[in-house]
Structures are given as C-alpha cells and as structure tokens.
C-alpha cells in the first residue's frame, strides 16, 4: 500500500475495490467506503463501483485501492495490560498503541493493574492524557473495582464512570469476597457499567502454575484445577441473579464455565464473556518442557476444554475474543517455571490467530469478526465496531489469506513474550485507520 498515484489527502479518503465486511449488519460485499475527516461519510456495495473508472469519487479525495482486501471495522480489544504507569520497561501506552495499530486494533481497554492502580479519577485521566499525546489508537481503561485492587472496599465507581471508565474489575485478581462482588454488581447498575471478573477461586488456584492434569504431574508443577474457574463463575451467576448487575466473565478457558454461561444466557441473565486466542489455539501441551511463554492465567487447559471454547465461540456463548495482552520482559520469563510471571503478548496476533477459526472451517469470516468488533462494542456500549454513516472511521484493511510467520523479534510491543513465536498463520493487517487517520500500514 503506497501513496503513489493517489490523490492528496484533504480530509476525504476513498477506499475502493474493498471487500466490505460489517458484522453488525452482516454486510459482506465488494464496494467502497468514503471517510470525511474522522467519520464514515458513505459506504456500500455500489459505492465507487465502476472498476478502474472509479465512478463518483470526490475530486479532493485520497484514493486507496484495496485490491479486493477486506475492509472492516477496526478491532476492539477489551482486555489488555499496558503496564503504564509503573512498569514502563515492559510496555508503555506508546508501545502498546503501536502494537495495537499493527494488529488492526483501533480501540483497546486496559486493565487497572498499573502502579499506582487505576483506582481513582486521576490515574484514569493520566492514561487518557497519555493516549491523546500518543494519538495512535483509542485507549480506554477499566477502573479498579476495589481500592488498591485489594478486594475489600469498592472504589468511586460513579466518579470513575463519569470520567470514562468502561467497567470495573480487579484486573488479574479475582474479586473473591462474595459480599464485595454482590455490592459491586448492585452499585454499578446505577451507572450502567459492567463488572468484569477474573473468574478463578483463589484458594483453589493458590500456588498453581499450570493446568492440573497429567502434564503438570509429570513436570512436577502445581496444578490449577478447571473447577477453580467454574466455581467462581457459578457463584457470580448466583449474585447476578440476586442483584441484576451487568457481569462479564473474562478469558474463559474451561468447558464447565462456558456451559454455565450458556445456561445463564438461556435464562436471560445480563451476562457476557470473552476468551483469548491462546485458549482456543493452544492447550496445556504447549507448556512442553517448562516453556514459560505458555504460562498464562488462567492456564492453558486440556484439549477437551480447548474444543469447548471453540464451541462456545461458535454458538455465541462467548461474545468476545480479546487478546488478554500481558507484556512480560525477559527477566520475568527466563526463570524456572515456578518463578516466571504469567501472561503473553497478544495485540499483534489477535487477528491471525482468530482467523484460524475461519481457516479451520469452524466459523465464517463475518462471524469471527463480530467477536472482534461489534460484540465487544456492544458489551462496553461503544459506538465503534461497526460500519455506520456518521460513525467513527475506525477501520482495518486486511488480507484474510496472506500467509506469514509470527516472529517475536518483529513485534512492536516492548515485550516479546508471544506464545505463538514461529507459528505460521494466515491473515495479515495491511492498514489500520483510527478516526480517519491511517495509523499503520504494512510495509511489505
């Protein structure tokens, strides 16, 4: 994608010869799209249809020939850790934003487990200011559910909601106290914000390092049982019944928890959930010979769980695929497995790994995209995540079939702890557009 021969950008950009994909409406057709300033002015199958004659393109528009590539709403990643403020040696809002842009992610929501944690309005404002300065992708944040993420006293949920917090969570820690969770679910209903849970019963997971089972036993590693997740989801669903609160279970990894959410949805409870690519693309075997880049929380599970996660995504039980981007530097990972930190980076591999669901014939392209765009937007009440006239021009242009190999050395993220290093994948982001501005183009 070069600017050679294209008209000068004057605030209008015409995308021609695109395969337009809009999961919100089911649109999947060849057509064009026009952005004016920060918004989508027009789009549709008939727009600029005329082959090389480019019918109807405004004279002052820059023209981008998509050459048949997919043009879709930019991805919305609802679970990332940006480590800024506090652990800027692992990631910053700048480096994380570059990674997001390279991954086709136009909006992301960071967890409050920064240092200091995002447990009051001032930290929230700091992040918003840094994101404005960096000005690549849209950076949103969750507020901490409890002060200092300590699980005891609820934070100023209302004030933080007013200041832009997208929801409330204790990040990578479960909100374990049932009364705290009950009150949070109840109180947050006044502000229309979801409570996001890291669903893991801490007393069952304490000291655990990987999924409980044969491999953990052979390696002599302490296991985390699958029921640690199921039990917490079951408890929370009871509290949702009691309070009517908006509940979102993060990064589901087990067949049991997905089945519980499936039942809760059938019963009409206001619950949603997400999973991360590593839970449907990998299983506990990836730990292999103490591979710390496969140490994640919750742990990679058994093959039956991995298949259940795919089923959950297919039937809509799992609303969203989020990267659960967790940058860790070398010093945090090149350690004995027991001492290594949890987490993998994922912003830049979210799309290609999710597209494996398409290439492996589990789902259609538009269905997979829905879980990366319109559904996360719905969970958080965002206007983006769809192609809409007058809506924000947050777009990703990608080739869904182009083969490439994930190389950790080429990641934009400051940390290179990918679980997918060396993996051959299909599907490559060609261009990322945020509010009409191109923030990333593939230079190959």
């Amino acid at each position: 994608m070069t600017a050679n021969g294209e008209k000068r950008a004057t605030g209008k950009v015409a995308y021609i010869n695109a395969r337009l994909l809009d999961p919100a409406t089911g649109l999947d057709a060849t057509g064009g799209l026009l952005t004016v300033g920060e918004t989508i002015a027009d789009f549709g199958p008939g727009l600029f249809a005329g082959g090389q004659f480019e019918v109807g393109i405004p004279d002052d528009a820059q023209v981008i020939d998509c050459k048949g590539a997919c043009l879709a709403p930019g991805l919305i990643d609802i679970r990332v850790q940006l480590r800024d403020p506090g652990e800027e040696h692992k990631e910053t809002i700048q480096s994380g934003s570059r990674a997001a842009a390279a991954g086709g992610v136009t909006a992301m929501v960071c967890l409050p487990n920064t240092d200091p944690p995002i447990d009051d309005v001032s930290v929230l404002e700091f992040i918003a200011r840094r994101a404005r300065e960096v000005k690549l992708v849209k950076v949103y944040a969750y507020g901490a559910l409890t002060r200092g993420l300590e699980g005891r006293e609820i934070t100023e949920i209302g004030l933080m909601a007013e200041a832009g917090a997208m929801g409330f969570t204790d990040g990578v820690k479960a909100t374990a106290d049932a009364t705290v969770m009950r009150r949070a679910l109840s109180y947050a209903t006044a502000f229309g914000k979801p409570i996001i849970q890291h669903p893991e019963e801490p007393s069952l997971a304490a000291g655990g390092e990987m999924n409980e089972g044969e491999i953990a036993m052979r390696l002599g590693l302490k296991g985390i049982p699958a029921v640690a997740e199921t039990i917490m989801v079951e408890r929370d669903l009871r509290l949702v019944e009691l309070t009517g609160g908006r509940y979102h279970a993060a990064h589901l990894s087990t067949a049991g928890a997905i089945q519980r959410i499936r039942e809760a949805k059938a019963n009409g409870l206001p619950v949603t959930c997400d999973t991360a690519p590593h839970y449907f693309a990998l299983n506990e075997m990836a730990v292999g010979d103490y591979r710390t880049f496969a140490k994640v929380s919750p742990p990679l599970r058994a093959e039956a769980d991995r298949r259940a996660v795919i089923e959950g995504i297919k039937d809509g039980t799992v609303d969203v695929i989020a990267s659960d981007h967790a940058p860790q530097d070398q010093d945090s990972k090149r350690l004995p497995f027991t001492q290594a930190e949890f987490g993998v980076v994922g912003l830049e591999t979210l799309l290609p790994i999710s597209l494996e669901l398409v290439h492996n014939a589990h789902m259609s392209l538009i269905e997979v995209l829905a879980r990366l765009t319109s559904r996360p937007a719905d969970v958080l009440g965002l206007r983006s995540g769809r192609l809409a006239k007058g809506g924000p021009a947050d777009l990703v242009l990608f080739d869904p079939d182009r083969p490439w190999r994930i190389e950790d050395g080429e990641l934009n993220s400051k940390s290179k702890n990918s679980a997918f290093d060396g993996r051959p994948v299909q599907g490559r982001v060609l261009r990322t557009v945020v509010d009409g501005r191109t923030v990333y183009t593939l230079d190959r």
Partner: protein, 329 residues
C-alpha cells in the same frame, strides 16, 4: 556380568546431561547400573582412588540444602580423582538477587566439566543446563525428578533380588510432591517392574494412573504381595492439617510398621531415600531391621551410582588432550 561395560562409548549413552529418568531406554539404564556395580566392589577396597576424573572440575551447585546427596556426589567425584567444589546458593547469590541465569553464566565462565545441581523448582536444573557447556547432573529439581536416587534404588534392588523386571514395588507416602517417586516410577516401569503407589487421597497426584501405576489409598491392599516397599519422606509442613490432619493420624494409617508389613511378601524389603521421619512414615523397629531394611545399603549404592554417572558423562566430554569426545546431543 559377562560383558564389561564400556561407559565412554557415546553411542550407548547418547546424552550430554542426566536431567531425568523419563526418556532413558532400558539399555541406557542397564549401562549405568552395570558400571555402578563395578564401583561397589572398588569402594569396598582399602584403596578407593581412581583417576577417571583427574584434571576434571566438578561443581556441586545446591540451591537447596542437602547433606546426603551433596556428600555422596562429593565423595564420588573425589574417589574418581576430580577436583570438587561445593557451592550453596541458597545463602549467597540468590539473596543478592542474582538470577539462575546469571549463576549459570558465571559458572560456565569458570570452565567446570560437570555441574551437579539441585534446585527447589521443577525444571530449574534443565533451564540451567541450557545455558552451560559442561555436563549437568540433576541432583533433584522441585517435585520433578531425582534421577541418581532412582538409579541407586534400582541398583540396591537389583543386587538383592537379582533383577528388576517382574518385581512388584509399592511406593508409599507423599507421591504428589516427591521427585524421588517420579524418577523411581519412570525407572521401574522402564525396566519392567510393576509399580504401585500408596498414598492418602490428598497426596495422590492428579491423573497418577497415567504414569502406568496402580493407585491405592490404603496401605494393606497397597503392599499386599509386594517385593519392595519404598517409603517416602513426608515434609513437616504437610503434616498438620494441610494435606493430612496430623502426624498421629498419618502414622496410624500410612506409617510402615510390622503389622502393615505383614501384607507384603515375607521376603519383602524396605527402602527409604532418607532422611527418615521415624514415627511418621516409618516405625523405628522396621527401619532398623537389618534383615529387611535396605536404608544403609541405599546410601552405599549412592556413591557407586554417582561415580558411574560422572564417569559416563565425563567420557563424552572432549578429552583432556583436546581431542573430541564422544559427545552426542
């Protein structure tokens, strides 16, 4: 033995390191046991000194305290004529924030020939082995493996029973946290023994049956008709309400005394990797029964087995005159 072992032949033991029993073939295990056997006899002579390790440096690197295993390796190295250094890292570098990787690089720069490493975390020794050029012997890593312990146990059994294949061995106690149990299970299964584990349900590892063992939670059925009863040490922090309610209750149900031992074969032998908790997992009377307890013999075999392991791994290093060794990765 009719055929003299040829330990320095790298094609018969194609490993640079000894990190675990899992993955070793029956022939490789037999090779090490046969060579150990020759050292048992030599160690009983007044002149025990050998020169196989002359000019070689052996570093005992212990990230976890140990008397028995460290001393055994030290003796083995010295009897083979090597220069032996002991480093306890638990009280020096780790407290200064030096990482395992830093320690590995530092020791590598000192050009040791063999590193004997104990580490409190599973996989710690393998991680260190990736970073050094010398041969590495795992002297115990977390709950993972303790290969020389399994070899010395096998040697002890083989000398007494004449074989390993076809024997029934019960491994009793805290199997969940035991690296000794894992290495023994792998070795005994590889050599064709029948392995049982006997433990309170809270100390049976998840999916233990996948190791090819029979699982019992009661002692008497568990050791019925066994040839060997192998007891494991129960760590004190697991005795009082976390995994088992009390020492008293543990001893009552899972401690080995003559009454429970009656279920085993009359000629059944008793083993323990040490150090023993008398009155916890084993009754003193049973432990000190010279006719049945192999506990002291295990210690003796330990030195011989470690000499054999050292000789075998050193035989694959480049020779002292600079010629290539038989190293096979």
């Amino acid at each position: 033995m009719s055929v003299a072992p040829t330990p320095s032949d790298g094609t018969r033991f194609p490993h640079k390191n000894l990190l675990g029993i899992e993955g070793l073939s029956p022939d490789e295990i037999t090779l090490l046991l046969d060579l150990s056997e020759t050292y048992v006899e030599q160690n009983r002579r007044p002149d025990k000194k050998q020169s196989v390790l002359r000019g070689r440096t052996l570093i005992n690197l212990f990230f976890e305290t140990s008397t028995r295993t460290r001393t055994s390796f030290e003796l083995a190295g010295k009897r083979l004529g090597g220069d032996v250094i002991n480093i306890s890292v638990s009280d020096s570098a780790i407290k200064k924030g030096e990482t395992l990787m830093d320690t590995a690089m530092t020791l590598n720069a000192m050009h040791a020939d063999v590193l004997v490493v104990r580490h409190p975390f599973s996989g710690g020794v393998a991680l260190l082995a990736q970073k050094v050029n010398c041969a590495v012997i795992n002297a115990g890593d977390g709950s993972h493996e303790h290969p020389t312990q399994a070899l010395l146990d096998a040697l002890t059994i083989r000398r007494r029973k004449g074989r390993l294949a076809g024997l029934t061995v019960a491994i009793c106690g805290d199997v969940m946290h035991s690296r000794v149990a894992r290495s023994n299970i792998h070795l005994l299964n590889t050599m064709g023994a029948r392995v049982r584990i006997v433990a309170p349900p809270t100390l049976v590892p998840a999916q233990a049956d996948r190791l090819g063992v029979e699982v019992f939670t009661e002692m008497e059925p568990g050791i019925t008709d066994c040839d060997i009863v192998m007891m494991l040490r129960l760590q004190s922090e697991r005795m009082s309400g976390s995994f088992v309610p009390s020492v008293r209750e543990y001893f009552h149900f899972w401690g080995l005394d003559y009454e429970k031992l009656g279920a085993a074969k009359p000629e059944a032998l008793i083993m323990h990797p040490g150090p023993m908790n008398r009155g916890v997992e084993i009754d003193s009377e049973v432990a000190d029964d010279v006719g049945r307890s192999l506990i002291h013999e295990q210690v003796e075999m330990g030195v011989a087995v470690r000499m054999a392991c050292l000789e075998t791994l050193v035989g694959q290093l480049p020779s002292l005159d600079g010629a290539e060794g038989n190293t096979a990765q």
